[in-house]
């Protein structure tokens, strides 16, 4: 151990993730549920990073305990392994605020409680409550207990492992509606949900990011419904489908149901953009996060103002608080690296045999921890992760980890100063 708490926490974070994903792969490998080590690790990483890309052909055929294990890895990964560890191991609590920063990089938000450990336990409380609520709701919709639990674990963590081979199509409409609501909720900052549950509703209305989240969601649903409707899908079905699809994409959950027969191109455009944007910072979802995009947008606005008024002094405010320039720069740096990872990932994928457009879609969907999506399915009629070459699977696994750890933790281990003796 070094004396630099930041380096220690990055080290711990990485070790935790590597150990967990490798251990998590053992059950798949031992039971022979997947053909090889690569597939087992891919499935495990996909689970812990809440991506939900799967190489298992028919999840329903797995033994019950393995199905539960698959769902549980997502649930643990949803809030983050480090947060899980902090909650489990009391001795870590002293360092928890550095640890928190290592895993949840750069969201600069108000803490719920002055003590990080208390903070963490509150988040776990909210998280558990949501999960239990969803399980109960799903069970009351007529699903069996195991199925309900697995689905709930996958939904609340925005993981998106499917429980059957045919997507969500085999579930009844009530189940889908309930899941839509919870997917939308999973894209909301957990601290805000805590405020909501403790009846501090004003905070919800005051959160600029939540308003943007809601507005973007509504707009996307509206455009998609119209696009489907004009393409010949019955209106009620197209609205329902759009709600489900957009909630699934924005929260980066990645569930999909049977798509309408004709998939309009506009829907693909919106889907792709939403994959990149993701949900709110501090939620279990992935992607660049709306908060960061809002900051960039405000900076851009200021840039144009400065073109017209070179002497103007401008600031960026979100939630009525000024975002410091240094922090804005960090956001820019993050987005730059994010895009670099997508391009780099796509480049490697082309080497393994994908076409350029397919490579971009795969890289984007996996770095944002979305996983399966109709936009990927639209690339090839029979696209399956299982059919990708091993090299592609490893690339995607790295991308998933990079996305989940918000890049910096992953990059820290390749930084020379990380290894230098202190």
């Amino acid at each position: 151990m070094t004396h630099n708490k930041n380096i220690d926490s990055y080290r711990l974070t990485i070790i935790l993730w590597l150990v967990a994903t490798l251990l998590g792969a053992v059950p798949y490998f031992v039971t022979g549920a997947v053909p090889g080590i690569t597939d087992a690790v891919f499935e495990s990483v996909s689970g812990f990073t809440t991506t939900g890309s799967s190489v298992v052909a028919d999840p329903a055929a797995l033994p019950a305990w393995l199905r539960l294990w698959r769902a549980a890895t997502q649930w643990v990964g949803g809030l983050g392994l480090v947060l899980f560890a902090v909650a489990m191991i009391p001795r870590l609590r002293n360092a928890s605020s550095q640890l928190y920063a290592a895993e949840f990089s750069g969201t600069q938000q108000r803490k719920l409680h002055p003590h990080m450990a208390r903070n963490v336990s509150r988040m776990w409380m909210v998280y558990t409550l949501l999960t239990l609520g969803l399980t109960a709701a799903l069970a009351s919709c007529g699903n069996d207990m195991l199925d309900s639990l697995c689905l709930a674990l996958s939904t609340v963590s925005t993981g998106g492992f499917l429980t059957t081979a045919s997507g969500m199509a085999s579930y009844n409409q009530a189940t889908l509606d309930v899941i839509t609501v919870f997917m939308f909720a999973s894209g909301i900052n957990l601290a805000l949900i805590y405020n909501f549950l403790t009846l501090h509703w004003r905070r919800l209305r005051r959160s600029d990011e939540f308003i943007v989240y809601a507005v973007v969601f509504a707009l996307a649903v509206a455009v998609c419904s119209v696009a489907f409707g004009l393409n010949g899908t019955p209106w009620s079905q197209s609205i329902r489908y759009s709600l489900f699809h957009i909630a699934s994409t924005m929260s980066t959950c990645g569930f999909y149901t049977e798509a309408p027969a004709r998939w309009p191109f506009v829907a693909s455009v919106i889907t792709f953009l939403l994959i990149l944007s993701g949900a709110m910072a501090g939620s279990t979802g992935g992607g660049i996060k709306l908060r960061r995009l809002m900051t960039i947008n405000l900076y851009l606005r200021n840039y144009f103002t400065r073109m017209l008024h070179p002497a103007a002094v401008l600031s960026i405010k979100i939630d009525r608080k000024v975002v410091e320039p240094d922090y804005v720069n960090k956001i820019f740096g993050f987005v730059f690296l994010y895009i670099l990872f997508i391009i780099g990932g796509a480049f490697v994928l082309t080497i393994t045999g994908s076409s350029v457009a397919e490579a971009f879609c795969l890289a984007a969907a996996n770095i944002s921890n979305l996983g399966p999506s109709p936009i990927i399915n639209s690339l090839g009629a029979n696209f399956e992760y299982a059919l990708l070459p091993d090299a592609a699977k490893w690339t995607l696994a790295v991308l998933m980890l990079a996305g989940r750890l918000e890049i910096f933790a992953l990059l820290a281990i390749v930084s020379p100063s990380y290894w230098r003796r202190q």
Partner: protein
């Protein structure tokens, strides 16, 4: 009435001077020896050299039997502290000058009152409010609302070619039948004239007119002015006044605020979300032009330097900005600044003094306003139960020379004074008065 003024500069001195003219017992506490010596030689009052937060000094000043304790030092915390002490030492009423408008919020005000600060004056806030009011009416040089906006006093400069120039005051009512206003004073070449029927309007006069709020169009017509709407405002100086004014204005207008200090400009841009904050020197006319000074409808200069304010306003005027407002701290400059064409002068000292005067004037002064340019005062008084004015009609009241009634509100109804009108208890009277007869006027209606 015994008043203690704790000050450390011009505001205190100005207050002391003007209040001692009104025959109050004034004690001034100030740390500056020299200043006090000069003040004592010029005016009739008691001075004590010392720190207003020292209980010994306060006791020495006789705070125990004072009716009003005014703390108008520069530092807010010192003012608050000395008010708290004064209250504990049995001062009847305490007033503190503050710089942070946050304390004026109702719930904070209540809290401060419980602690011992009865009233708070934020000159910057009042000045900003005045700027806001001035921009709401593009024609009047100044205007003030009385009786919750039922009565308004307009101050209008009569230009060459204005229809009323050359006519007598009494002609007004005959020529313009629907015009229902009272001309309470004319300011001509630095001299205040209380007009009677035969007084003739001259070009260049500043006319003080009282009427009910709906009369503004009529007044504009008579004075030969056209109203225009103000949509772009450029403001120089991002001090407190500038900041509060921008806060008030930014929702309804495009506000460009120019501030020289980079750090201050950054603070401003963080707190003013709809104002364009420019970092630069307000005396740099090229910069002002680049930022669209010529396209601005109003230019307001509220930097710390009166000279800069006057000069930049003049420049703006020359470039065709129709409305200019300058902050002038030196009271000696006010008349001359108005003479050379700046539309309106704002002076923090006068504003503070006006505001404080309402705690002083015996009787129920609802509001009062010290006019810049003339040292006259407009008071709004409530007619008391035992007032002599309830016994005779207005024509027979012995109003002192130098005072005139401008308008009356009874309930929601407004009236102009006439010789036959009989005042009743509870009426609100707007009176234009010179300072030397202010006390007499107050007594008349109490």
């Amino acid at each position: 009435m015994k008043i203690i003024i704790a000050g450390d500069g011009e505001v205190g001195v100005h207050l002391a001077k003007s209040l001692s003219e009104l025959d109050y017992d004034i004690t001034v506490v100030d740390p500056h020896d020299e200043l006090l010596k000069r003040l004592e030689s010029e005016t009739d009052l008691l001075t004590i050299v010392g720190d207003a937060t020292s209980p010994t000094v306060l006791r020495d000043a006789g705070v125990a039997d004072c009716d009003l304790f005014l703390a108008v030092l520069h530092h807010e915390s010192v003012n608050l502290m000395s008010c708290l002490l004064a209250k504990k030492l049995k001062a009847k009423k305490t007033v503190a000058r503050i710089t942070n408008a946050e304390l004026l919020a109702p719930r904070n005000r209540e809290m401060m009152r419980e602690m011992g600060v009865d009233e708070m004056v934020c000159p910057e806030r009042i000045a900003a409010k005045e700027i806001t009011n001035l921009l709401a009416n593009s024609v009047a040089t100044e205007f003030f609302d009385f009786s919750d906006g039922l009565l308004t006093m307009y101050v209008i400069r009569l230009e060459d070619g204005s229809p009323v120039v050359g006519h007598a005051v009494k002609d007004l009512a005959q020529t313009y039948r629907d015009l229902q206003v009272k001309v309470v004073a004319l300011l001509r070449g630095g001299e205040t004239i209380i007009p009677h029927g035969d007084t003739v309007f001259h070009a260049g006069d500043l006319a003080y007119i009282i009427g009910h709020a709906g009369q503004v169009d009529n007044i504009n017509r008579v004075a030969g002015k056209k109203a225009f709407s103000i949509r772009r405002v450029m403001m120089a100086g991002g001090g407190r006044i500038g900041r509060y004014a921008a806060q008030n204005l930014q929702d309804s207008m495009h506000v460009t605020l120019i501030e020289e200090d980079r750090a201050r400009a950054e603070e401003l841009s963080a707190s003013l979300s709809d104002t364009l904050v420019i970092n630069g020197d307000a005396t740099n006319i090229e910069l002002l032009k680049e930022e669209g000074l010529e396209r601005a409808d109003a230019f307001i200069s509220v930097t710390n330097s009166s000279e800069t304010n006057v000069l930049t306003c003049l420049h703006a005027k020359r470039l065709g900005v129709r409305r200019t407002i300058a902050l002038v701290e030196n009271t000696g400059f006010i008349t001359i600044s108005q003479d050379i064409g700046i539309d309106t002068i704002i002076n923090k000292k006068l504003i503070t003094a006006s505001y404080i005067a309402r705690f002083i004037v015996k009787g129920d002064a609802v509001s009062s306003k010290w006019l810049s340019g003339t040292n006259a005062e407009v008071l709004e008084l409530k007619v008391g139960k035992w007032s002599p004015a309830t016994r005779k009609p207005i024509g027979q009241l012995d109003m002192p020379v130098g005072a005139t009634i401008g308008g009356i509100t009874r309930g929601r109804e407004t009236m102009l004074p006439s010789r036959e009108l009989q005042l009743k208890q509870g009426d609100r009277v707007v009176v234009f008065t010179m300072p030397k007869v202010m006390a007499t006027v107050a007594r008349l209606f109490d």
